[in-house]
Amino acid sequence: SQQGEEDPQALSIQEGENATMNCSYKTSINNLQWYRQNSGRGLVHLILIRSNEREKHSGRLRVTLDTSKKSSSLLITASRAADTASYFCATFYSGGGADGLTFGKGTHLIIQP
């Protein structure tokens, strides 16, 4: 099935350091999105990058997309304790009986104060 796979599964860094998470997907896409989920909460959209874009910025977030490798990365610069959360990449998938965003398994990011 169309599904992203994030890497690493878990990441622990010191506050102020940069955090990089990677995502791989299986089939061609129109766009790829990243979402954040704080503990016990719903997912929140962070950024969308279209298939014809290679890099996109939003505040301290930088997303890259390599369609030839079917991969994306999310970089969080100057991390803060509040960035502690799980991060998911998502792509739109039509098929298998349900149209909608298909999410990867997520990267759990812990920012140590």
Partner: protein, 114 residues
């Protein structure tokens, strides 16, 4: 004003019971979804509904049924609950546009089946 609200937030029930989770969105979106998140945080789409067409993930048991009284609501009914149904269920809404379908999620409903 909460964009996507779902109730209840917590639900504890016995095996075999029937339960419902309600979801409402005030964003004017055309499409609503139900997702199931298991204990390993894996999110699985269960249903998508765009006001005219219900699309069911073929792996979802028919004990699960979505019901939409109107465009702003998509409720989830679960019959004959099983232990494996324990999970967090998320409702979401989106514009339904293939090229830029950004989802807004509710806070989740944690279902525990004893």
């Amino acid at each position: 004003d909460t964009a996507v609200s779902q109730t209840p937030k917590y639900l504890v029930t016995q095996m075999g019971n029937d339960k419902s989770i309600k979801c409402e969105q005030n964003l004017g979106h055309d499409t609503m979804y139900w997702y199931k998140q298991d204990s390993k945080k894996f999110l699985k789409i269960m249903f998508s509904y765009n006001n005219k067409e219900l699309i069911i993930n073929e792996t979802v048991p028919n004990r699960f049924s979505p019901k939409s009284p109107d465009k702003a609501h998509l409720n989830l009914h679960i019959n004959s609950l099983e232990l494996g149904d324990s999970a967090v269920y998320f409702c979401a809404s989106g514009t339904g546009l293939t090229g830029a379908n950004v989802l807004t999620f509710g806070a989740g409903s944690r279902l525990t089946v004893l």
